[in-house]
């Protein structure tokens, strides 16, 4: 299904849509308050963007530097060209330690690789430990937002899920109570885990260390208790210097949730005594995106989620209307590079209002990239987009003045003479919620010819 079809379905429950819109707009407002308290905010955006530009231009050097330092620190480093290899590496590490129970903190990369289902097929119990991710995991859903995975759900939904799976009181919906139930449930999982997997927010070339940010503390509870800590990272997570974290940690939480910083910003350089630490560096299409001149800037993304929160289309269509792992504006510029046909409609799920680009902490020109992907999708995807034909006709029309004027007049007459049911049936979707403009008696051209042209106004 296209984004439009899914969104049309989602939008039928208007009360829920309004709630979703307001909840995310509130996050955007909190973001505005925090970022406006930092006088150098725009300078930080520029610096962050420049650091990321530098990273891409020396990515191979930084990756090898990172690897070298990590090995010196006692970490085992793995390289995966694609999702399958990533999953195989994880399974091999787990099997090597005879690990059957894995606790996992938030990692969009493992979602992208469909790691959970792969490991479960191979007899591993995988428990997502971020509260929102645990909720969607129990419901056999996917995250609908990269920072707020369960934002599509109401507390009643969560109450029911926890009653079914965790034995909480029937009908309970108090977030405090439900979080307490999850805390007890997941503490037991942390204490019995054989291995922990975390994502990586930043990987620092000069130290070989990684930084992981959470509010809940779930990454640390997993990583410090389990005998094995695996961290999966895309190649673009590299930053050159530890001091660059000063820029990124000042921006990440402020832009994501309106906090000044996340509760925990953990810096892992060396494994714990008696523990193994593994870093898995993953490509999975990223080097292809690096080669696309118009789109490589999408690799700057630090996954703050602000472009989702600010997007008026995302807020009203929900994350599950986007078929890609990463929804919203950033997902819509990453997905066509993965599968041009499958995700064709995502680049069109935007008014090109540009709010995403202005809110982006690393200055990705998101809405310009959406525009550019549209050109490629229409030209190359050989899709059934009937729009292509319509637009061709329009292009032809507008380039032929005589034809245009004729069609314009006919069009106007048609609008005024057609009965409402024709205009507002399924064929003319403008009639969905809106009236057509009242056709004027004269077009401007006609008015001009009558009132101005004849009276000798010079051209």
């Amino acid at each position: 299904m296209t984004h439009s079809e899914k969104a049309t379905r989602y939008i039928k429950d208007e009360a829920r849509v309004d709630w979703h819109d307001k909840a995310l707009w509130f996050v955007r407002q909190k973001r505005d308050i925090q970022t406006k308290k930092v006088p150098e905010w725009e300078t930080l955006r520029e610096l962050a963007s420049q650091i990321k530009a530098n990273v891409l231009s020396e990515l191979d050097t930084y990756l090898t530097q990172f690897e070298e330092n990590a090995i010196k620190n006692g970490v085992t480093v793995h390289w995966a060209k694609d999702a399958q290899e990533h999953n195989d590496i994880i399974l091999r590490i787990l099997n090597g330690k005879n690990a059957k129970k894995l606790v996992k903190s938030k990692s969009m990369l493992t979602e992208e690789c469909h790691l959970n289902s792969f490991l479960e097929k191979n007899g591993i119990e995988v428990v997502d430990t971020d509260l929102g991710e645990r909720i969607v995991q129990l419901r056999h859903e996917t995250p609908s937002h990269i920072v707020l995975p369960a934002i599509h759900l109401k507390k009643e939904d969560v109450g029911e899920t926890f009653h079914t799976h965790l034995g909480s009181e029937k009908g309970a919906k108090d977030p405090q109570y439900l979080t307490g139930v999850a805390r007890e449930h997941l503490r037991e999982k942390f204490l019995s885990a054989d291995a922990a997997l975390t994502g990586v927010n930043f990987a620092i070339a000069e130290t070989g260390g990684i930084t992981v940010c959470t509010n809940e503390g779930n990454a640390d509870l997993g990583a410090h208790l389990a005998p094995v800590h695996i961290a999966s990272m895309g190649i673009e997570k590299i930053i050159p210097r530890q001091s660059d974290l000063g820029v990124f940690l000042r921006m990440l939480a402020r832009n994501a949730t309106g906090q000044a910083i996340t509760t925990y910003s953990s810096h892992f350089l060396k494994p714990n005594n008696g523990q193994e630490m593994h870093f898995v560096i993953v490509d999975n299409g990223r080097t292809e995106q690096l080669g696309r001149v118009d789109f490589r800037k999408s690799l700057y993304c630090i996954r703050c989620g602000a472009c989702l929160n600010t997007c008026p289309v995302y807020r009203r269509s929900g994350g599950h209307s986007y078929s890609f792992t990463i929804p919203g504006p950033i997902g819509s510029i990453l997905s066509p590079g993965v599968d041009l046909k499958k995700y064709a409609s995502m680049a069109f799920a935007s008014t090109l209002c540009g709010s995403c680009s202005d809110v982006c902490p690393v200055k990705i020109d998101i809405h310009h990239q959406l525009y550019k992907w549209r050109q490629i999708i229409v030209n190359e995807s050989n899709s059934s987009f009937s729009k292509k034909q319509i637009m061709k006709a329009m292009g032809f029309l507008f380039s032929h003045p005589g034809l245009y004027r004729f069609a314009g007049k006919t069009g106007r007459k048609l609008v005024s003479s057609l009965p409402g049911f024709v205009l507002y049936n399924g064929l003319n979707t403008w009639g969905n919620g809106r009236e057509l403009p009242q056709p004027p008696a004269q077009s401007f051209r006609e008015w001009y010819l009558e009132n101005k042209h004849k009276t000798g106004n010079k051209l």
């Binding site: 049309t8 208007e14 209002c353 549209r374 292009g395 380039s399 314009g408 403008w430 809106r434 403009p437």
Partner: protein, 248 residues
């Protein structure tokens, strides 16, 4: 000063009064205004739908029509911005670059070129200003709410010169109306919801009139208002500047 009047396709067809007001306003301010009769469309609807190639013919025609004017002025930041930004699809020559640098939205033209400081118009209403995205984040005619910097709006600055006009405050100062070119029909459900939410914001905050600089947005908002039978009028800002009156 020879000014070419650029009238976007849907203004010509559905909102001729906006083009009339633009023409009259420019003439009142002493400009010699010409209207090239062969003009059609800037090409933006096709390009935003992914058909940039098909829009090239429209773009070529546009340059042909307007290359001989000192300035090109239209009351549509969205279309003007498209010519400025996206006419890189044409092979660049002196005519193309002349058109791209000398095209102005009416607001910019009045403030930056004609440098007007007062307007002889009265409009005693509570007005909700709809900020068009392309004026904001394309033409940078105002400060967007995402960016940290001093607040300004060229369009509101102009409207502030009108006697009796009172701005209402909106809950969301620069959220998109949901028009988005072909988005309004390809994503009709989301588009209509966005339009409805925008109108509700103006209504909640007591707007008698909604105004703005881009007719496409106003067409969207007016469509919602008429469907929902709301008692809010929609006028383009040039109509207000040109002294539009609702009294008989």
């Amino acid at each position: 000063m020879k000014v070419g009047l650029f009238v976007p396709c849907y203004v010509d067809q559905f909102y001729p009064q906006v083009a009339v007001a633009t023409l009259q306003l420019l003439e009142k301010l002493g400009c010699e205004v010409g209207f090239p009769l062969n003009q059609t469309c800037c090409g933006q609807p096709m390009a935003n739908a992914g058909c940039e190639k098909e829009s090239k013919a429209a773009a070529k025609l546009f340059v042909e029509n307007f290359k001989d004017f000192d300035y090109i002025v239209g009351a549509a930041p969205s279309c003007v911005g498209f010519v400025k930004e996206h006419y890189d699809i044409l092979e660049q020559n002196p005519d193309v670059s002349h058109v791209r640098t000398k095209i102005y939205d009416i607001t910019e033209f009045l403030l930056d070129i004609l440098k007007i400081t007062k307007i002889d118009a009265r409009f005693p209403y509570k007005v909700g200003f709809h900020q068009s995205c392309h004026a904001l984040r394309g033409m940078r005619m105002a400060q967007s709410s995402e960016i940290n910097g001093a607040s300004f709006s060229m369009q509101k600055q102009l409207l502030s010169m009108v006697d009796g006009l009172e701005f209402i405050e909106l809950d969301r100062t620069d959220e998109c109306c949901g028009f988005g070119g072909t988005f309004c029909v390809t994503e009709a459900a989301v588009s209509a919801k966005m339009g409805s939410d925008r109108v509700a914001d103006h209504e909640r905050n007591g707007a008698q009139v909604i105004t703005g600089g881009d007719v496409s947005c106003l067409m969207q908002l007016e469509g919602v208002i008429r469907r929902q039978n709301k008692n809010i009028k929609v006028v383009h800002l040039v109509e207000i500047l040109n002294g539009v009156s609702f009294e008989k």
